[in-house]
Subunit: 314 residues, 2 copies
């Protein structure tokens, strides 16, 4: 448990400011001036990093130097590292450590179709707390990515080092444009053109299992992204499996209907944090807001609820 050795290959950290300044100025002498050192110190610092990495960072041509490809790569990471640390120190001096920025990692489709349209409301309610939204899917490394919280669909094992707080259980069901539901109800779902997404190829199977349906598709079409399949459904191209959060606003606005209702897929959406949300007031604020916004997300849109459009009973 305690011998989680993180084996890193780090350059000599103390030499990084010298390297960064030298790269910025493309000159060891200017870097020396900036840092109030001698050019020899810069030269040795750079040489030290090069020795450690076994790669040349600069191309030296008599009166000027410039970065090699390796140097460019290291500069990118170095600048990010130094600026990030500088920002942290400033935050600490100004706000005693409580950063007024909450960095949220969210899956792209959920962010686009659910979170972003609502973030304006959060900003209005909490003008002091800025949300920095990053789109990313799959396993998350909060520390490495510098994120405070992540929102994920818990369809994979989430590292035990994190605290996961359940947000809502995912419900999903076939969605199509309002004009097509009669067609579907007249016969059955097998009349429909099924829209698939390669990012979640089992969506239809999961739904069939959850709802006990035995339907097969009349025709099928594949898209690269879930987002795209849903857009196609809005655009009357067929019927897609819509997870509730991603189609919530479309259902509410009448752009889509879910004539067969929604069934739980067995997956939860969770909030991933390093510590329990209550420990960080920013996170607890965000969490409370999320839960309030998601009030009608968790079973509230099952058959019997009027959000679904007219054909909610199968």
């Amino acid at each position: 448990m305690s011998n989680i050795h993180i084996k890193r290959h780090l350059p000599p950290l103390a030499a990084l400011p010298a390297f960064e300044a030298a790269a910025r100025h493309q000159s060891f002498s200017r870097a020396a001036e900036e840092l109030h050192l001698t050019h020899g110190a810069i030269s040795r610092a750079v040489a030290q990093i090069e020795d450690r990495l076994g790669v040349e960072l600069f191309v030296r041509r008599n009166r000027r130097v410039w970065l090699t490809a390796a140097g460019e790569r290291l500069l990118k990471a170095t600048s990010a590292a130094l600026n990030g640390l500088d920002g942290a120190v400033e935050d600490i001096h100004r706000h005693d450590g409580a950063s007024p920025i909450l960095t949220v990692s969210c899956e792209p489709s959920l962010a686009m179709r659910w979170l972003m349209p609502r973030l304006g409301g959060f900003r209005e309610a909490n003008p002091d707390l800025n949300i920095d939204l990053r789109l990313a899917g799959g396993p998350v490394d909060l520390l490495a990515d510098g994120c405070d919280v992540a929102i994920r669909r818990a369809d994979y094992g989430i590292s035990e080092q994190y605290i996961t707080t359940r947000l809502w259980a995912e419900h999903a069901g076939p969605v199509c444009d309002p004009d097509c539901w009669e067609t579907i109800l007249a016969g059955n779902l097998s009349n429909a053109r099924w829209l698939h997404a390669r990012t979640r190829p089992d969506a239809w199977d999961v739904w069939k299992r959850a709802s006990g349906s035995e339907a097969t598709a009349a025709s099928e079409q594949y898209f690269d992204h879930f987002f795209f399949a849903l857009q196609a459904a809005v655009n009357r191209l067929g019927t897609a499996i819509g997870p509730l959060p991603l189609v919530h606003d479309d259902l509410k606005a009448g752009r889509l209907i879910a004539p067969l209702g929604m069934a739980p897929t067995g997956y939860d959406y969770v909030l991933i944090t390093l510590d329990p949300p209550v420990r960080d007031p920013r996170i607890s604020l965000f969490f409370e807001w999320l839960m309030a916004e998601a009030g009608d997300m968790d079973g509230g849109a099952l058959p019997g609820n009027d959000m679904m459009g007219p054909g909610k009973k199968i």
Copy 2:
């Protein structure tokens, strides 16, 4: 020009691995084991950072330690910094510095409505080059954010330290759902309900100036995001000013029409890089692809083009 002193407040960098390990283990002794040092070395490293910052990083209670708020903030930056550097070193060792990841910073609305739907195509065409997309608006600091390129609407002064490459000139015009254009043409634009976005409050004025229109709104409505106003237009709530990239796909799919055509707004969309795109093969690849995808973006959708729906002549 050369005396751009970047005044940073950095913690003692060499002490950071000790701090990070101590924070991770919540124990100085475990950290010492991991780093093959004595607990005294860890204690002094942490104390050194605390002295420099003038803040306590750990709460010491006899047999355990945990982070203060300031410590948590510094840990976030430190982890990100060390992991970022580690990644750079690994890239350098594996690929001699050429990272197989291209980090792209893009404005959220453009990313959502134009870039993301196309990225799948890029990934298929270039499976070796992964795109890491970050949503951010306004001024960009490529180095600080660790981004290779940024895509921006050049509506503000862009720092001279960057190379800006023009992508296309923005065209914009009123867009509404296909059923409403007859209403508009029957009278004029003043019959319409104008949809505004607080993120670009001058959009209608800019268009009126560009097109010479003197119209005024029959009624108006405000939204928090451009994205939202456009969604409202799709949803038949009124007429919004649609910049071509953001409504391109909606026009093409017939969800929206632009009965009065598009006029240049005077703003360019640009690619922002540290060096000319040709110098980095990843960037030049991405740039070429962008230009190919944007083939019909630059004036190609002006009145007279059939992309606009039936009412393209005013």
